[in-house]
């Protein structure tokens, strides 16, 4: 622990700060409406950097989480260049090599560092490619849930009255069901409605929609609460006196002032979304086995767990834990660092 603290202290603060700043910008880029104000964003980022960089340096857990998360994300993004084999290339698969154990155990070979699965696919490569799909689904469904939730929360909080009551009761009803159940429901309905042969092609889209729709409530509630506060502030009333359209007030005035907590929720939600995707894939309603995600890999390996081929399911599971845990820890840190009451 102290080693980490010392090392990070020795690092030049500028580099540290710019690293955070780039993370910051990456995370917030999608929610920024006014890209034109780039210089103002840079100025804001500089102000934020001080506090964030400081709390980042002070938290060894966060530094480890950031490194692990970067490794996971980097591995997933650069999978085609990093992976020793291409698990999608069916022609390259050797069924003779099925169920090879990890390299360091008896019978293992360094051609397949983490062993192979039932079809002779390299487990390490499938994990890299699987993490790619898991991350893509997680991020896409979070972006979708965020867009939906922020829009509903803004409208609900700003317009109020019956619209607000209706939307929030809808949210209450949805909250009384577990998210996974709603995702299963949407997935099931989509499967019935769509032609059979289209299933595999649009499986990812359906998955993103299902996870996104099951997750909008959190955003809507948070944004509604902040919007209620902002709406009563005089700058919003000033915009109304000027005669701006309610929609313009919501987007230009209220939205930039309510995005802070949304970013924190989104970071934590990415971890949840990855888990939900894994759960759905584990249950067999997620991505097809031909392009497996981490959840699919765990499900496939689960069949062989008790026959001794433990590596097929354990390594994807470990990868999932590392990815989710590190993203979660980063989200927790971001929440605490941005909450002045917890300082």
């Amino acid at each position: 622990m102290s080693e980490f603290a010392r090392r990070s202290d020795e690092e030049p603060p500028l580099e540290e700060g710019s690293e955070i700043a780039s993370l910051e910008r990456e995370a917030s880029a999608e929610s920024r409406i006014e890209a034109a104000d780039r210089t103002s964003l840079d100025a804001l980022a500089r102000i934020w950097d001080h506090d964030l960089a400081y709390s980042f340096r002070r938290s060894p857990v966060t530094i480890v989480a950031a490194i692990v998360a970067l490794l996971c994300i980097g591995g997933a993004v650069f999978a085609p260049w990093l992976a020793p084999h291409n698990p999608y290339d069916l022609a390259a698969l050797e069924l003779n090599d099925a169920f090879k154990p990890p390299a360091w155990t008896a019978g293992g070979t360094w051609t397949y560092p983490l062993g192979t699965d039932d079809q002779g696919r390299d487990v390490f490569s499938t994990i890299l490619y699987g993490a790619r799909i898991s991350l893509a689904v997680g991020v896409a469904s979070v972006v979708f849930a965020m867009a939906l939730g922020v829009a509903i929360g803004l409208v609900s909080g700003y317009i109020g009255g019956r619209a607000d009551a209706f939307l929030m009761r809808l949210a209450d009803i949805q909250l009384s069901f577990p998210a996974i159940l709603i995702a299963l429901l949407i997935d099931g309905v989509a499967r019935v409605l769509l032609p059979r042969d289209a299933h595999n092609e649009i499986a990812l889209v359906v998955l993103v929609l299902a996870i996104g729709i099951s997750g909008w409530v959190q955003y809507a509630r948070t944004v509604r609460g902040s919007t209620l506060v902002e709406r009563s502030k005089e700058y919003v009333q000033a915009a109304r006196v000027i005669g701006r359209h309610p929609l313009a007030i919501m987007v230009a005035h209220v939205l930039p002032n309510v995005t802070g907590p949304v970013l924190v929720i989104a970071t934590i939600h990415i971890a949840t979304a990855i888990i939900t995707e894994a759960t759905l894939s584990f249950l067999g309603v997620g991505v097809p086995p031909t392009s497996p995600s981490l959840g699919t890999l765990i499900r496939i390996g689960n069949d062989y767990l008790f026959s001794g081929e433990w590596w097929v399911t354990v390594f994807p599971g470990l990868a999932l834990i590392l990815l989710v845990l590190s993203v979660n820890l980063l989200g927790d840190w971001l929440r605490d660092a941005l909450n002045p009451k917890l300082r």
Binding site: E234, Y235, Q237, A238, V241, G243, H253, P256
Partner: protein
């Protein structure tokens, strides 16, 4: 203007069409519990009469101040006029155009441009995420007053100079300014659409005393240069005495006295006005006996019957408890809503 010799100057001046006219304006707020509670607990529907039967007119070029204790409805009147609330009763007319029906304001966008508002809290009235230049230019852009971007920028710089800041300040964020400077920005924004009428809702109450004077002098100066008309909401009698031509005194959502500023401060008519003026600390230390403001403002959800002021009024009688007084012209030319004055049983003010 030919009738200068008339003994009653008000009559002659009201012949000129007022810029803004409020007739019997009222506004209720629904403060009842949510629908489910009302159904299950049998809770009644509660209406708060924030403003009740307020009538007055504002003449072009003058400053009319509304004063009163917290919660008397003066800010609600301001928000009714600029259209943040719709009136529940009565009519609000700007140059004879009725604004009180919903949707009429969007039908008359020109009126919106000509009427602007300055808010109380300079820390809340500017969007913290916007640069000052964008804040000030917003009314110009919304009303499409200037065609191209360079002229908008030039106009913003001119406005900033007009309120005592520099054109470079347009590039800064609101948090880089002090309260007084922020209020100057707020004034610049209000002026940017070339309005004739400004509603000022306690524009100085959140500022230091020294800064208050600067802002008031700036507002007076701008009024002279641009020929502005002000409706000035305040609870600070010293500020009101400094800036206003006429003063309306409000109590529990009703207008109880409307008079020239000089007349009001020299010889307040209504017992409530007398009480307010008596409560002002006497810097001259004249040792004059001051009557402290007695009692509390009654619950506005359940205002007293008759004259709303009767529980606190030393001159109240049975009629005051039963019958609501109306605003009537008294001998001095002021308008007062008081039975005691009407009946002539009020002793002269001891000022």
């Amino acid at each position: 203007m030919s009738a200068v010799a008339t003994p009653e100057p008000h009559v002659e001046r009201t012949a000129e069409a007022p810029l803004l006219e409020l007739a019997d304006v009222g506004r209720d707020f629904d403060v009842s519990k949510p629908w489910l509670n009302r159904v299950l607990e049998g809770a009644p529907r509660l209406l708060l009469r924030a403003v009740d039967g307020v009538s007055f007119s504002v003449r072009r070029g003058e400053t009319l101040a509304l004063v009163g204790e917290s919660g008397c409805g003066k800010s609600t009147v301001a928000r009714l006029i600029v259209g943040l609330y719709a009136p529940s009763r009565g009519s609000i007319a700007f140059e004879g155009v009725d604004l009180s029906t919903p949707g009429s304001r969007s039908a008359v966008p020109q009126i919106r441009r000509r009427m602007q508002m300055i808010f109380q809290d300079p820390y809340a009235s500017l969007n913290p995420r916007w640069r000052v230049g964008r804040i000030i230019a917003e009314p110009i852009r919304v009303n499409r007053l200037l065609a191209d971007e360079p002229s908008v920028r030039a106009r913003v710089g001119e406005l900033l100079r007009q309120v005592g800041l520099t054109p470079d300040d347009a590039e800064k964020f609101p948090h880089e300014f002090s309260g007084g400077q922020r209020q100057r920005i707020s004034i610049a924004r209000a002026l940017s659409s070339n309005p004739e009428f400004l509603v000022c809702d306690e524009p100085t109450s959140a500022l230091d005393v020294s800064v208050q004077a600067q802002i008031l002098n700036l507002m007076k100066d701008l009024q002279q240069r641009l020929g502005l008309t002000y409706l000035f909401i305040s609870h600070n009698l010293a500020v009101v005495a400094h800036i206003s031509d006429r003063v309306g005194v409000m109590y529990l959502g009703r207008l109880v006295e409307l008079a020239d500023a000089k007349t009001l401060f020299a010889s307040p008519a209504h017992p409530y006005t007398r009480m307010l003026l008596d409560a002002v600390p006497d810097l001259a230390m004249s040792g004059a006996a001051r009557t402290p403001v007695a009692g509390e403002v009654p619950n506005p959800l359940d205002p007293p019957k008759g004259c709303a002021f009767h529980p606190r009024c030393p001159f109240a009688n049975a009629r005051c408890e039963a019958e609501r007084p109306t605003l009537a012209r008294a001998a001095s030319g002021t308008q007062v809503a008081c039975h005691a004055i009407e009946e002539g049983r009020l002793p002269p003010a001891h000022r």
